[in-house]
Symmetry: C2
Subunit: 340 residues, 2 copies
């Protein structure tokens, strides 16, 4: 590890050409005679020369880095988005710096700081602050500042006072698809478990849930809609609360995400007559590994990632793109069809 690093100076000197020439053959898209290009290339190979991206960035102001900040990369939903995003970024010649905040707002701001200092050409936000219905003003101010210095893009969330581009899957549409599906199966008593009041993604889902029930002339029961968080434990807790506080029970339960869905399924096994249909949201790997497999709503992950990156690289004006999700039907809503 103690090679003194080779630079274009060394190459230039050894060949008796200028550094400019070397620089040009590295860049590739400049007129250099075939002869010199060849001999330079030969030397590059000989030393296995790697240009210093840092120096390049300093010189031409293009870091080819984009930052991605998210609260929990271990959550299959977030990691799926990341993978698609990164894949596409790579195609475009960009690398992605991942900041995992563990849901901590301070980390979030710490990472934006680092990314700015690293001259990231854009910062993509998924989850966290941007989903607070009433976001911390200090955090908002910070984003406004960030926005002045680099491109800011948000996924599945947006703060009104920050004027950035955003992509999202239509969460209302997802809930509509779920209700439609359940109603078609004959369910009339439907509950929704999980999430946190004051987080936009939850609020949208709950709001749409109510609206859709009404549309189908079904009754919304207050005690069948329980905020309990986003984890597996949240699903278990929510389910148990439901069981312990209700005499009449719903026949179908919607989890705010797959983890909650899976948690409900787990908890339901501890009760005897568990004749519920379950639905999750995000269609992550958990929706396949659970038993029964979980009917869920699938985001167009690939598009989400692509568009986010495109928005970072775009020179165009701010824009907001909304994509449609898909319902993926699995065992959890098909097993008990006959039992309502």
């Amino acid at each position: 590890m103690e090679n003194k690093k080779v630079t274009i100076y060394d190459l230039a000197e050894e060949l008796g050409v200028s550094t400019a020439t070397v620089s040009r053959v590295i860049a590739g898209d400049y007129p250099v005679s075939e002869k010199t290009r060849e001999k330079v290339q030969k030397l590059i190979d000989k030393y296995d020369f790697r240009p210093n991206a840092i120096a390049r960035t300093l010189s031409n102001k293009k870091s080819r880095l984009v930052g991605f900040i998210t609260p929990a990369i271990t959550n299959p939903f977030f990691s799926q988005v990341f993978v698609e995003l990164e894949k596409y970024a790579l195609e475009k010649g960009y690398s992605v710096l991942l900041g995992n905040t563990s849901g901590n707002r301070e980390q979030e701001s710490h990472y934006t700081r680092i990314l700015l200092e690293q001259q990231a050409e854009g910062i993509i936000l998924l989850g966290g602050l941007i989903n607070d219905t009433i976001p911390d003003p200090h955090g908002v101010q910070e984003l406004i500042e960030v926005q002045k210095r680099t491109k800011l893009v948000t996924i599945n969330g947006k703060i009104k006072s920050v004027n950035n581009s955003s992509v999202r899957t239509d969460e209302a549409e997802g809930v509509e698809l779920i209700i439609k599906h359940l109603v078609e199966l004959g369910h009339t008593k439907i509950g929704m478990i999980g999430g946190i009041k004051g987080i936009t993604t939850t609020d949208i889902k709950v709001h749409t849930f109510k609206k859709e029930l009404e549309k189908h002339q079904l009754t919304f029961h207050d005690s069948w809609q329980i905020y309990s968080g986003y984890s597996i434990k949240s699903g278990e807790d929510g389910f148990e609360e439901l069981m312990s506080t209700n005499e009449t029970l719903p026949t179908a339960l919607i989890g705010i995400n797959d983890m909650v869905g899976v948690g409900m399924i787990k908890a339901s096994k501890r009760f005897r007559n568990n004749h519920f249909a379950f639905v999750g949201y995000d269609d992550t790997i958990l929706a396949q590994t659970s038993s029964p497999e979980l009917t869920s709503i699938r985001h167009p992950y690939e598009e989400l990632g692509k568009i986010a990156i495109d928005m970072v690289l775009d020179e165009g004006p701010v824009r907001d793109v909304i994509l449609s999700p898909k319902l993926v039907i699995k065992e959890s809503t098909m097993e008990h069809v006959l039992q309502q």
Copy 2:
């Protein structure tokens, strides 16, 4: 986003001090009079000045970046390691550039290239090439080159001819724990499903599996040990192959990892008399979400991450650390205890 960026020159000029002074107050650990420090700080705050990390790196050769390359960040095992690693890196003032290769060896080498160009102070490898029993010589050569230019650290794998530091959890020990547990439960007929021959992690597990059976005077059945890969599908496939090619069946099945374990459980539900005990490996979230919950082997994730980072930052000599895993007992081996 079109602020012309403020530099230490601007600050220095506005205050009538030198850039060196400004630089010093930013660095923090240099003697500067309280008075000047204060007025400099005031200006920094006024402009919300962010030092350009790129310029700093170019100047002092410390990028404070470490790279992490892994085949599948969506795999809960890999993402768990990443999270711990990153958390600790952050404490140390480092950021982690994540390269996700999708199991593609070319991507792997593409990322090492990028990381080298970004002047990463170290590269951490988990999975991929380093787990090939017979690694591609070209890839090996590349790692040897990498090693000359930056610190190379590998997790749960190591190539003999590349002399880097490494941390691993003792996979043999994990298998020993599993067999011991199963034997204590009275199992005498045990199978192992999944993995790929020629991948060190698999080879170690299978080898130890055989050895441990012998130690306990149990018979190894060729047809109860099936290589079928690492995914959920692999678990299902392996299980079905087991069922279709055997008359006598084992009573306990070990999956090469949790995904395979979960896959086996899923497949087993399609058969009537599914009286198997199941064990996974890695103790990821899947081991909690499956039903029954999966007994599994837990890596000391936090230590793994910490030590890997320490190895990157260490000035010390190359070293290899081996950590002990833990057996986490859950439903999948406890439900059917009475049935053998």
